[in-house]
């Protein structure tokens, strides 16, 4: 039996779970919160609006006849509902968030303030262009920074997230190949790549051919050459890669790819390690998306929104999608339709309505301006320094499969050090939760067993890194000492214990439904 707040009211015969020790189920500051559908009422509202003036309806026969079923809450109730829920989340503002490949760094509030200026937040994408010159100027300024940092020829700002940027880059490549009168069907993707790479290539009809890594975790140019053919359209290569390593033979790979008439798509998910240190354009990249929500710290927001502008080489620049900015005598002009294009501009189409993630552009540009060229380079260096520091201090207790070389902004361990303990990477991660940390990225990349990918970022003080390191060392020693309960029962101190994901997938419950009346349920 559950009460309305989802708590057992008596020991559960099926699970053996005991009821919680307090009457309310709350534990001090940790307050349980029911669903809005359990506490809200359709007649309650937290927004006072005047009644609509009487007017003949123009809805024709289309007026809604059935109720929607939307509960409302008064303003104080709504405030509590969401504040209580918020306190069940971990956050970068609470502590170190070492999710490798995700780049959980400090989110400056200046950026939020700038994004809320009415001149940015309260402008419509289709109001006359004469009334949004500042917005277009901001897009041009952001483009300038991105192009200087990457050494590329053009940028398509509109992609809405990293995976959307990949789609943009791969579409530009497909269009460029078609413009040569060719049709190529294969895309090479290293096995360590993010899942979005193969998914993106497949989305527009490419066959994905994996490229294995060599023993040191990087891609061997010979392995690439062996797979190149006139049917290969592109390679999608993440650099630094998801093992946290810079692809040391990237230039040779780029040359081989170009010699075969194919393109080099660079996944820029890890660009944050190299900003100000090396330009992707100098390495032979033809297209690369930049996750503004990673490298330039627009907040992750519990899973978005992101933004994934794509920088393009001169070969791909003509195919940039609509809308794009053209400079006319130094003045930025927003080109929104095919009809607005000029000779040499051959946009492959459109990826989204309107102009992209303006709110993210504002935040990212504020971040860039605040850092400047010096601060951006420092951020890359500190991120790389911090990851190598964690690696060095854990080297005796954890196994780094590619540990004999420096890592970039993240360090990859496998689960070899847990062998024989009966403790898995998952158990280890959950034990970190009890210690007040968000776990590292687990089981990714897929190329090492039980992967633990740690990205501390440049936002941590040395004291913070030292406590984190000490905690991981304590856990590793507890694991070796056979204290399996500390791991298998974890987390014990989080708002929830381990959740049954199998149950969730077996009979999916994806929306709230009115519980059956008690009498009916008892039958």
């Amino acid at each position: 039996m559950m009460n309305t707040q989802g708590r057992p009211t008596q020991p559960d015969a099926a699970t053996g779970a005991a009821p919680l020790e307090t009457f309310t189920g709350n534990r001090g500051l940790q307050i349980e919160e029911p669903l809005i559908f359990e506490v809200g009422r359709p007649e309650t509202t937290g927004v006072d609006l005047p009644a609509a003036p009487a007017h003949a309806s123009r809805l024709g026969g289309h007026a809604r006849t059935a109720p929607i079923g939307l509960p409302g809450l008064s303003e104080p109730e709504a405030m509590r509902h969401y504040v209580r829920l918020s306190r069940q989340n971990y956050a970068i503002d609470l502590g170190l968030y070492p999710l490798g490949s995700c780049t959980m760094k400090h989110n400056p509030r200046l950026n939020e303030k700038m994004a809320r200026l009415p001149g940015f937040a309260d402008v419509h994408p289709l109001q006359p262009l004469s009334t949004v010159e500042g917005a277009v100027a901001l897009m041009q300024e952001l483009s300038h920074w991105l192009l200087e940092m990457t050494g590329m020829a053009a940028v398509a700002l509109s992609p809405k997230a990293g995976a959307h940027g990949e789609l943009c880059g791969m579409m530009a490549i497909k269009a460029a190949i078609a413009a040569r009168g060719e049709n190529r069907s294969i895309v090479l993707v290293p096995e360590s790549a993010h899942g979005t790479n193969p998914a993106t290539a497949a989305l527009i009809g490419y066959k994905v051919v994996p490229v294995p890594a060599r023993a040191d975790g990087t891609v061997d140019p010979e392995a690439v050459k062996a797979r190149l053919s006139p049917d290969v359209a592109a390679i999608m290569l993440t650099n630094p890669n998801t093992c946290g390593l810079f692809e040391r033979d990237v230039v040779a790979i780029a040359e081989a790819v170009h010699a075969a008439g194919a393109f080099f798509y660079g996944d820029g998910a890890n660009f944050n390690a190299i900003v100000g240190k090396v330009k992707p354009g100098d390495l032979g990249v033809d297209a690369m998306h930049i996750n503004l929500h990673k490298t330039f710290s627009t907040p992750h927001g519990g899973g978005g929104p992101g933004a994934g502008p794509v920088v393009l080489s001169a070969a791909l620049a003509p195919f940039a999608p609509l809308p794009f900015i053209r400079l006319e005598a130094g003045r930025p002009v927003l080109v929104e339709t095919e009809a607005g294009t000029e000779a040499g501009e051959r946009p492959f189409g459109r990826l989204t309505a309107f102009h992209g993630q303006m709110g993210m552009y504002v935040r990212a540009l504020a971040y860039m301006l605040a850092h400047g060229a010096d601060g951006l380079r420092q951020a890359s260096e500190d991120a790389v320094l911090s990851a190598n520091y964690v690696k060095a201090r854990l080297a005796d207790l954890f196994h780094a499969p590619y540990g004999d070389q420096p890592c970039m902004h993240e360090v990859l361990f496998d689960d070899a050090s847990l062998e024989g303990t009966g403790i898995t990477t998952l158990d280890f991660a959950k034990a970190m939760i009890d210690e007040g940390y968000h776990p590292m990225t687990m089981y990714f990349p897929l190329v090492v067993h039980g992967a633990m990918l740690i990205e501390p970022t440049e936002s941590e003080s040395k004291a913070s890194l030292d406590l984190f390191i000490a905690t991981l060392r304590d856990l590793a020693m507890a694991a070796k000492a056979g204290d399996t309960e500390r791991f298998r029962q974890a987390p014990r101190l989080a708002p929830r214990r381990r959740l049954d994901e199998t149950r969730a997938a077996r009979s999916p419950k994806l929306s709230w439904t009115e519980p059956a009346p008690i009498a009916a349920a008892a039958e």
Partner: protein
């Protein structure tokens, strides 16, 4: 730099622990001849005050919607968002958390997603909704791909009711994936015969209601015809507030409902970030793109929520995934959901009525201006007028008079003389009676 906690002394200590002489030794894998010797050719670090000055200057060169009588819609709408919404979405625990991959410490985000999915399902009249797409237009393209997977066909019919930029997004993906996209001509008068375009090879027919031109479209006969030949109906909306006033697409036989959720909780923001709403029938859920949040129990038997059915997704299925989407619109979902909770059924219904009454009033006033014709018999908060002249030019002249009058169709459909005199006009609860009067007066003044 104020965002970087490490001191030079820390850096020296850390390098010593690593056994490196300098930080550059850590970049040894970067080809030496490619490493940058000096700084990027960009300005150096700036204080908060300096950044505010620079950006404030750019912002000041834009006309904020709130400063003028404002009638621009066509896919993005200016509604009043309660202060509570913007406060709550800036809570650190919502703003600065990642995708909830560790559910034990992400129940806040997950419960919000579960509530969001339920709200969207109810508004659209569907059984299940996902945890969001990037926006309405990309969601629309994903809906077409989902229909292709479900029907194993590859021909989509796009009604002329569809927002022209949504059409362009679907066409672009279709062209790249070698799918067949049949786009019917723009339909400003809601007189097209979409049924005639549906045949045995059709995977789905995509219809927007309220249409881009504001017309309310009866989806039932379209659903019937589609289902009769084994095709699906994808129903699109760009103004989610309309769903409080009109019969939801789910009740009219739609198989996939997709649209823009910006209207609730999210600012205009020059076009993004927005939040794509995506709903379907339970039996289709395993072909759905995007994240899904589901209910389950924890080890103590307590209710909790997790991301589920992830075997559809790219991080598990890679090139066999239903979509490549990863990051979606989490924080925009939160804003949507809070606004919807604050409004509730009573508030949202009243807000919808205010929108409709304001639009009806303006339509009547504009129809009374000599030379102006309202094309719509039916509409919610947006309609199309035919002006006695080039609509884009008239909009510019009205802008000079401090009225942002709407979207000239030619902005999105250039080079089509038959559409050049059409203007799409939106009215929300933020538009006052004085605003409407100012619009009509300014228009009457500039027309011959």
């Amino acid at each position: 730099m104020r965002y970087h906690p490490l001191t030079d002394a820390d850096r020296a200590d850390m390098l010593a622990a690593i056994g490196a002489a300098s930080v550059d030794e850590l970049f040894v894998a970067v080809p030496a001849d490619k490493r940058l010797a000096g700084l990027l050719d960009l300005p150096t670090t700036k204080s908060e005050l300096e950044v505010e000055r620079l950006m404030g200057r750019m912002a000041a060169r834009n006309t904020a919607a709130g400063d003028v009588p404002f009638f621009v819609g066509a896919g993005a709408y200016r509604h009043h968002v309660p202060a509570t919404v913007d406060h709550l979405i800036q809570r650190s625990e919502f703003l600065t958390s990642y995708t909830p991959y560790q559910p034990e410490i992400a129940q806040g985000t997950l419960q919000v997603l579960f509530e969001f999915q339920t709200q969207v399902a109810r508004l659209t009249g569907m059984e299940v909704a996902n945890a969001s797409m990037y926006d309405g237009s990309t969601g629309c393209a994903e809906a077409v791909l989902m229909a292709h997977r479900l029907t194993r066909r590859r021909k989509a019919v796009l009604s002329g009711s569809l927002h022209p930029q949504y059409r362009a997004v679907v066409e672009t993906l279709g062209r790249m994936a070698d799918d067949d996209i049949v786009a019917l001509p723009a339909d400003p008068t809601a007189t097209e015969d979409v049924l005639a375009a549906i045949d045995g090879e059709t995977s789905c027919v995509v219809v927007q209601s309220p249409s881009f031109y504001g017309h309310l479209i009866d989806l039932r006969p379209i659903a019937e015809k589609a289902h009769a030949v084994g095709a699906l109906l994808v129903a699109v909306f760009t103004e989610v507030v309309a769903l409080a006033a009109i019969e939801p697409p789910g009740a009219q036989g739609a198989d996939i409902v997709v649209g823009e959720g910006q209207s609730l909780g999210n600012p205009l923001g020059f076009g993004g970030p927005y939040v794509g709403l995506f709903a379907t029938r339970e039996k289709f859920v395993r072909q759905m793109p995007g994240r899904l949040c589901g209910e389950t129990l924890d080890a103590d038997g307590r209710r909790g929520f997790v991301l589920t059915l992830s075997t559809r997704e790219q991080h598990i299925r890679r090139d066999k995934a239903t979509s490549n989407i990863c990051t979606n619109s989490g924080l925009c979902c939160l804003a949507f959901s809070i606004h919807a909770t604050l409004l509730g059924e009573a508030g949202l219904t009243r807000m919808a009525a205010l929108n409709h009454a304001g639009a009806a009033d303006l339509a009547d006033r504009l129809a009374a201006v000599p030379g102006v014709t309202v094309l719509n018999d039916t509409f919610f908060n947006e309609f199309t007028v035919r002006l006695p002249g080039d609509a884009a030019a008239i909009v510019e002249r009205l802008a000079e008079r401090g009225v942002l009058a709407g979207v000239p169709v030619s902005r999105l459909e250039p080079g089509r003389p038959e559409l050049a005199d059409l203007l799409v006009v939106a009215v929300t609860e933020t538009v006052s009676e004085e605003d409407r009067a100012a619009f009509v007066a300014a228009l009457a003044e500039i027309l011959p």
